[in-house]
Amino acid sequence: MSDLIELDLAAARDGLRAKEFSAVELTEAYLAEMARGEALNCFITQVPERAVEMARASDGRLADGTAGMLEGIPLGIKDLFCTKDVLTTAASHILDGFTPAYESTVSANLWGAGAVLLGKLNLDEFAMGSSNETSYYGGVVNPWRRKDDDAPLVPGGSSGGSAAAVAARLCLAATGTDTGGSIRQPGALTGTVGMKPTYGRCSRWGIVAFASSLDQAGPMTRSVRDAAILLQAMAGHDTMDSTSVDRPVPDYSAALTGDIRGLRVGIPAEYRVDGMPPEIEKLWQAGQQWLRDGGAELIDINLPHTKYALPAYYIVAPAEASSNLARYDGVKYGLRMPGKDLIEMYENTRAEGFGAEVKRRILIGTYVLSAGYYDAYYLRAQRVRTLIAEDFRAAYDKVDVILTPTTPGPAFAIGARTDDPISMYLNDVFTVPANLAGLPGISVPAGLSESGLPLGLQLIGRAFDEETLFRAAGVLEQAAGFAARPQTWWKD
């Protein structure tokens, strides 16, 4: 039974259809792994009974020939997606006891395709963080460790629970959300594939909002093909999200032709940042060579406003967050801390309910939107954003896809950067520009650091050209041949 968890999503799907094993068997195999993986703290909520029930229903549909695209596939869902009748926390104390009466569009799409819910995955509180250390439910531990070193490492964030669970085989695949790199960065730090689609490709309806103009859901998987399959089911137009785009969803798996002859790949000079570790530079060079070997043409490009992306992001995202999080006031749902009057109730509730990083961002956001500061910060950041989008538009006149490292370095030790928000924010330096421009990006595991930790390469594509992105990523994945696996120390 335990080798069932070795099958990737595509293989598991085929095995289920061929009746080599049942959906219940597959689900139970993962439930067993989840039970053994408690030390990783990947899940905030597990729903084993519901999972078996869903798997049983899947077996019925597999038997009567009404199976969906993801029939019987056991998934973990980032606990930012509202799930009907299942506790939804956003990893925040302030949503204590919040059980939605509704299902997010993306997760509803997955259940409609036959997928099975294993549980809700840990994350940084309200998706604010790059290490999963801001969760009210405790940090997630990266299944990877440095060679000859037992120090626990972060899995990245904010979708750290999703990345770690996929890497440790606690679920077949997972959903994540990416506001500034929250899918791609943990993907890179855990040796998994993390894909952020074009803004508007997946509905945001029912996903707890962090920064509305940047948030986008995406798949987190073991392979590029799995990501293509999962996105296929997640994506689509939704009339309940005004920013969702009404375009047909192409067959992403069909795009994985392995043929990138003539593909023009841009290498942006500005991503060669000061102090970038040589191993990252080396990996990037390797990636370029792999694509060249596949028949792609490499073209040097400039994205001149890249250095302003991170500062602009840390204005726009907190500004939107400060407003989005105003609804958590103790009046309607979640935590309420009493006070002698209304104002004191607000103060007590929000002081108790939000963690330090969330408070920091609410304060930054409130400040940059204040009268007298709005033009200097928010408006200017929005202009920078336009310029960054313009940079990409100009680049895509010359190239089809852009190759960069995903992160400036591998996973770091838990606690190593919690006292230094700026160095924490720098984790997102390569991922943030795609969010600001609304472009799709994917991180593919491409090699190991000197310390034996996974590193990722990122491809950024044209808006709504996920197909080219998957095609190039497939070739990169193939060439990199990343087969390393973490030691399963958590099972001991």
């Binding site: 509305s212 920013t243 407003s323």
Partner: protein, 497 residues
């Protein structure tokens, strides 16, 4: 001098002045009217907008600001705002943006109100207000924007807690902002009435102030005529015409007293207390909220096309100003009568149905004097009138073909108003038909003359005035049914006058 002030100076003729100890003062008023859009669903959710119902009956997940919920614009509300803008002769902005106005309050579940700040959907327009002296005050409209209403806090349901009713949360409002062109409390109510008339013609707001469909914030300042504008105070949420008049008069007096005592006015928000008949400070400018407006990232900018707007313009009904002009030009009505008739679309329609193919002035007279008078007495509206336009028209026909005298017509009208019966039926059932048969009238005249030989002699001796007395007697003898004109003519014939 700014352009505003130049306009202001030109515009100022005819304002009503208030006498103070140091001379006359002028009141300057601008209004922000919140008009609830007539729409079955809310601005950003599908929840119904029905008035009443149990608390929190009409609340969707979006209205309650549940996590992950997103607003989706109700296109019908947009159409209503554009229709209103066109009715106010205003610029329609093909590009407008929804912003978030951020503040904490329990009846504001999102922690922000979705409104339009920098780029409203409607720009400058105007409302022409007819003044009692026959003049017209043109009140310029600064802008109209779309926004959500908040819920309602209920403080009287529990000894230590407040309850929140979110039925109104998310209901679509149009905020219509005027320039400070209004010059008296009376003008303010006339402006509001005119605005309400226009909105009701357009069908974009029912204008019901009791139910809160229309509420006004009033900006009041005072100045010596010819000087520049004074510091204003805003009186929030006044919800009846009477309170508006009282609040403005109180506030103007308060400001004049302060200024005449050598004090100065502080810009602040004030509340009108109808119980005490006074306004009192709510918060000053210094304590005012920083609303941290920014474009709502959940909503795309609202982009309209000119053909779509033109389509709405083509479907616009005839508006009160145009209707009034037509009533004056085509029907020869006085401006006053025309104003009265166009104040409600239903009244104007009623009048036109009565006037069609008949003497328009007589029709106007009957609708205004007789019908309105009778309706007023029993407190009913034109829609509830027991006499239909068709019936009133038939009555006028009976008057025109001399079947009824005007006296008889009034009697018949009273019966119609009581019973709802057709005039023909009443005339036949009660034998009220005017007698135009000269034989019958002559017989009656002969009888009266025979019974009063002395009076006949007096007339013959030159006392013409007695002729009226004879007419009266003949009318009496015919139970009022004789055509008085014929009676008069025949009497004159008898006396050779």
């Amino acid at each position: 001098m700014s352009i505003e002030e130049i306009y202001d100076a030109k515009h100022d003729a005819g304002g009503e002045l208030i006498a103070g100890a140091t001379g006359d003062w002028e009141i300057i008023i601008g209004m922000e009217v919140h008009a609830q859009i007539a729409s079955r669903a809310k601005l950003f959710s599908g929840a119904p907008t029905d008035f009443g119902g149990e608390p929190n009956d009409h609340v969707s997940l979006v209205d309650a600001a549940m996590p992950g919920m997103l607003p989706v614009i109700n296109n019908f509300c947009v159409e209503q705002a554009v229709r209103t803008g066109l009715g106010l002769k205003a610029e329609i902005n093909l590009y407008s943006v929804f912003d978030r106005k951020n503040y904490f309050y329990p009846d504001l579940p999102q922690g922000y109100q979705i409104s339009q700040f920098k780029y409203p959907i409607v720009g400058r327009g105007e409302v022409r207000v007819d003044l009692p002296d026959g003049g017209t005050r043109v009140v310029r409209i600064e802008r109209l924007h779309l926004e959500q209403d908040a819920g309602k806090s209920l403080h009287d349901q529990h000894p230590s807690m407040s309850y929140v009713d979110l039925n109104r949360s998310g209901v679509a409002l149009m905020e219509i902002v005027s320039q400070p062109d209004i010059r008296s409390a009376e003008e303010a109510t006339l402006y509001l009435e005119k605005l309400r008339t226009i909105l009701r013609y357009l069908g974009t707001c029912d204008g019901n102030m009791q139910e809160g469909s229309m509420r006004a914030d009033i900006n009041v300042s005072v100045r010596k005529p010819g000087t520049s504008l004074g510091t204003r105070c805003e009186i929030k949420n006044v919800n009846s015409m009477r309170f508006i008049r009282q609040a403005i008069d109180y506030e103007a007096r308060r400001q004049i007293d302060i200024l005449e005592d050598g004090g100065e006015i502080h810009q602040e928000t004030r509340l009108y207390d109808p119980g005490k008949g006074e306004t009192r400070a709510m918060r000053s400018k210094e304590e005012s909220h920083d609303y941290r407006y920014f474009p709502d990232p959940d909503l795309l900018p609202l982009e309209l096309t000119q053909p779509w707007v033109d389509d709405i313009a083509r479907g616009l009904p005839e508006l009160p100003d145009e209707k009034k002009a037509r009533f004056i030009d085509a029907f020869g009505l006085s401006p006053y009568d025309a104003s009265v008739l166009v104040a409600e679309r239903e009244t104007a329609d009623f009048y036109e149905a009565v006037a069609r193919g008949r003497d328009p002035k007589i029709a106007a007279n009957w609708v205004i004097t007789n019908l309105f008078g009778a309706l007023n007495e029993i407190g009913k509206t034109i829609a509830e009138s027991p006499v239909s336009a068709e019936q009133l028209g038939s009555l006028l026909d009976l008057l025109a073909d001399k079947t009824l005298s005007s006296r008889l017509a009034k009697d018949v009208f009273e019966i119609m108003f009581e019973t709802g019966d057709d005039p023909q039926k009443i005339v036949e059932d009660r034998g009220l038909k005017q007698v135009t048969d000269t034989g019958a009238i002559e017989a009656a005249i002969d009888r009266v003359m025979a019974e009063n030989p002395d009076k006949v002699e007096e007339v013959k001796a030159g006392k013409d005035k007695l002729l009226g007395w004879f007419v009266g007697q003949v009318m009496k003898a015919t139970q009022g049914k004789a055509n008085p004109q014929i009676v008069n003519e025949m009497l004159r014939g008898k006396f050779d006058l």
